[in-house]
Every structure is written in C-alpha cells, then in structure tokens.
Amino acid sequence: MKFLVCISVVPDTTTKISFVDGDTKFNTDKVQWILNPYDEWYALVRAIELKEANGGSVTVINVGGADNEQVIRKALAIGADDAIRVDAEPGDPFYVASQIANAAKSGSYDVVMFGKETISYNGSNVGGMTAELLGLPFVSYASKLEMAASTATIEREIEGGKEIVEVNTPFVCSAAKGMAEARIPNMMGIMNAKKKPLNVVAPVSVSNHTTIVKYELPPAKSACKMINPDNMDELVQLLHNEAKVI
C-alpha cells in the first residue's frame, strides 16, 4: 500500500498575526513555522500506522522553498519513508493542487491524504481539487480509516453525525480528529530522517486562479462588560436589547 501524504508548512498556532507592505503581505518576522497540525497528527500518523500494520510506504510531499526542508525532515522523523519538495512558492490552492496531482500521477499511490484544512488559510480546498485533477473519489473529514486489501472503510463527519463509507483504492482522503494521536519523533527517528531521500522537483507551469489583494485584522474587541453574578436579568436584557442575539 503506497501512501502520499500532502503536508503544509504553516505559522505556529500561537503566532501573533500581523501584516506588512500596506497590509498586503503576511509578516513572517519571528514566525515559528510548523507542520500543519491536521496534516501531521491525523493524516501522516494514520498513514504510518497503516504502513506499519500492513506494509507499504509513506511519501510526504510539500510545495515550497528550501526553508521548508527542516519541517519536511520532521515528517520523515515521525516515520515517513521519503519526501518530495516541489520547488516553488506555494500559490493559490489550485496552483498547489496542480503540483501535487502532477507528482501523484507518476507515483501510482493507493491513498493520497491531506489534513482537513490548514490552520493558516482554513480553505479545505487542495484535497478536493487534487481528487478532481486525478479523477479520484474524495472522502473528506475522515475520522477513522481502516484498510482491507484494496478497500477502505472510512468514518466521515457529516452535519450532526457520522457516515460510514467504503471506497476502493486509489482514492483521496482528508483527515480530521479521531484519525490518530500525535506522535513525537524519537532520537532514532530524527537521526534516520537525515538519511532519508528528500527529492526536489521542479514545478509544472500553472496559473493561479485567485490573488490575495489585502489582509485585515478583526476590529479590536471592546472591553468585556462585567455583569454582577447576582443580576442575571441584566445580562439577559443586554443580550436582547444591546447585542440583539436573543
């Protein structure tokens, strides 16, 4: 079973977000870059668990510059066998999906996995686009994944519940909570990661469909209005008359 796990490099969760150049660019100064948590904890770890149980291989792929290699090595330290870095600035979701689909075509992977979204743009776009570009079934927001020969049984989230679905390989899947538990790379993993192949490939020529023209921070919250705990009628009146939410 061959897994391709698509990983993004994103600002750490606790990053203070700010912008430069007249709010047209994300301020990368002092930003700690990490493996997108959903790609790491859910997609990558589950792929490694399934490889350990049934044999096969796990390849990770990232679209980005050489600076990303430190984070890609972490994925190798957790247990991926090899890595592909498409040497390009990640453009919009369509650009990234096109790069991944192009690399996936030559690898005959059984399962192409993503996290449910990135914590930076929260788009949930690249997985579905990659599936469409490859003409493959797509199961999104998977919270469980079991494999038996060429058939996967997947639990996916739906509004107000879960669905159990079956799909044959090859397919594309995006992973959500429940899939696996985070793994911390051990010393052996970190040492081995340095020797694992990290192949740098050139991008295919694709145009972006969209352009970010400006960023904006939410308006500063006005100070929290404190209500006397013995006067809940006042809170209810404020929610009704001032906030107008009830």
């Binding site: 914590i119 686009m129 599936a131 469409e132 159990i164 809170l235």
Partner: protein, 326 residues
C-alpha cells in the same frame, strides 16, 4: 450570465445554509445585473423549491436521481457543473458546509473557476471580484480576488444571513447522466446524533462548558440552560478527551470551528486553541470564577462567579425573559 446557488437540503427541506446561499446569490446577481438560479439535488417537493423565490431565486433547477441519495462529491460536483453550464451561470455560490467543502473544490476544477472558500461578506465588485474570507483560524481576514471568468464562492454558515421577501421561483426538472463511476464512495451507514437541536456548525446559540464543571455528573445545569435557550451544547477539548462529554461536542481548533450568534462559555479558561474555534462568534459570554481567565479578554460580557450558582440564576432569567416574550 447568471448566479447559481446550491440549495443544500436534507430530508426534503432546504437547509438554512441553503437559504443563506440563496440570499447571498440574489444579492450578487443584483449587483451584476443578472438573475439568481438555484440547483437542488434530490427528491424535494416543487412547493419547497418554488418558495426559494422569497429569497431571491428566479428559477430552481431540480435534479432528482435516486442514485444521489448516496452523497459523493464526484457525482454532486458533476450535477452542479452541468447545471451551471446549461443555465449559463458564471458565478456559483455554495455553503462552506461539510458537503460544500467536498463539492466546491471539485467544481472549481471542473468549471475552471477560481474558488474563495470561507467567505464572510458579499463580494466587492467595484474593481474586479474580491471576496473577504476568514483566515489564520479566525485571527484575520484576507481579501481574495478571483481572476478567472467563472467564479465560485463558498460562504461560511451563519455569517451573511438569510433575508426573506415575497415571491416564488419557477421550478424545472433536469436530468444529468450519472454512471457508477461517479459514485466511488459508497455510504454504508449513517449515524445521526439524537435530539432535535441544530448541529454545532449551524447553531445560532451555543452553551459550552469546560473543566470548571468538575465532573460529567454536573452537566445537568448546563443542559437545562441550553434547553431553555434552544441552544446546542458544546465543550472544551480537555472535557472531551477525558470522556466527560462526547467528542462531537468539542469546539476549538482541533474540534469543530463554529460561528454562532451567541456563545456562552462556562468554566473554560480560553486557551488560544479553544479561541481559534470560537472567536468568530458574534457575541461571547464568559462565566468563570477566575478573574485571570484569558477568555475574559475575548468576551463581550463576563460574569465573575461560581458556575454552580450563576448558571441556575441565568437559566431562571432566560425563562422569565422567554415568558415575557409571549
């Protein structure tokens, strides 16, 4: 040229996020000087669809094929793409629901259309077509220009609102050729949560509690409050992880991200990972006995006090308020 919207439905009824898509589409259509057309999938009564006229639809195209009871993004994207082409639609509006998240990216490739997902406002069409979307887990917004002729906007549920006026829409039935190859994903079983409250991503009112409740046996007062309000219950991550509450209630970065009108947080300190999932709520009320709880900084209203004393009082106050409204 026209604006097509996906009238997402469940059990024969167009869902609230489908009405939001209709409202959004009719406003986009008005600004572009064209009409809004709905696409509905499944066995839905014509009267239900013609009622979409009140939300601005001039026409609704229905594709009812028994195969489509099985949700597969491949088949659904094919149906919507075909209808977009047959109606000459160059803009498609879809809810950023779980199914919308699976359909929209595929549709974007099929129609060669730029996609902005996570939209929280109408597009600015004064200079191109620019959509404001939530980014950085609710900590910022990005304004994204769609550069392609065809465009898709996926709108965050409960962000742009539903507006009902007068009117009825014409209903047409269309068929799209579907084969087994369009249904690679076979649904074997559907497990729905019991109860009749709205699922978290769609809920307007949410009552959420955390470790401050001290134990699962104390959740009765939280549920009472939620029942009186007609709110959906939620919880923080630690509480789901130790099994006090079911995992589907977990809101926050790793759980469900929500955007209700009112979020009441009880005994939750407000770690940054929790805030990432709830910071787009319109109004946040924090009840905590620790004055240093960081959540107060993100709150609109705060109550510094013991949850076990405050919640029953709040429930009573809501009861009184509800009674006075009748």
């Amino acid at each position: 040229m026209a604006v097509l919207f996906y009238a997402e439905a469940s059990n024969g009824k167009v869902k609230k996020n489908g009405l939001e898509a209709a409202t959004y589409a009719s406003k986009v259509a008005a600004s572009l000087g064209t009409q809004a057309i709905g696409i509905a999938v499944g066995d839905i009564a014509d009267s239900e669809l013609s009622a979409l006229g009140a939300y601005g639809a001039s026409k609704v195209v229905k594709v009812a094929d028994a195969k489509l009871e099985n949700f597969d993004s491949q088949a659904y994207a094919k149906v919507i793409a075909e209808v977009a082409k047959s109606t000459g639609s160059d803009v498609v509006i879809i809810s950023q629901s779980l199914s919308g998240k699976a359909i929209a990216p595929r549709l974007s490739v099929k129609l060669d259309a730029g996609l902005v997902s996570g939209a929280v406002a109408l597009p600015d069409t004064s200079n191109g077509f620019v959509v404001k979307k939530a980014a950085f887990s609710g900590k910022a917004f990005a304004h994204v220009r769609i550069d392609t002729a065809n465009k898709i906007v996926a709108v965050v549920p409960n962000s742009t609102g539903v507006e009902k006026k007068e009117g009825t829409a014409a209903v047409e039935t269309a068929s799209v050729a579907l084969s087994d190859a369009d249904f690679g994903v076979k649904v074997k079983e559907v497990k729905r949560q019991s109860g009749n409250v709205l699922p978290l991503p769609e809920a307007e009112l949410v009552v959420s509690a955390g470790r401050g409740m001290k134990g699962p046996e104390n959740w009765g007062i939280v549920e009472d409050l939620a029942n009186v309000l007609g709110a959906t219950t939620a919880c923080s991550r630690p509480v789901a992880d130790i099994g006090w509450r079911p995992h589907h209630e977990h809101v926050g970065q790793t759980g469900v991200a929500i955007r209700p009108n009112l979020y009441i947080a009880i005994g939750i300190s407000g770690a940054i990972q929790h805030l990432a999932g709830v910071n787009q709520s319109k109004v946040i009320v924090v009840i905590n006995k620790d004055a240093e709880a960081p959540f107060f900084k993100a709150a609109d209203y705060g109550v510094l006090g013991d949850a076990f004393e405050v919640i029953p009082k709040l429930t009573e106050a809501f009861k009184k308020f509800k009674a006075s409204q009748h």
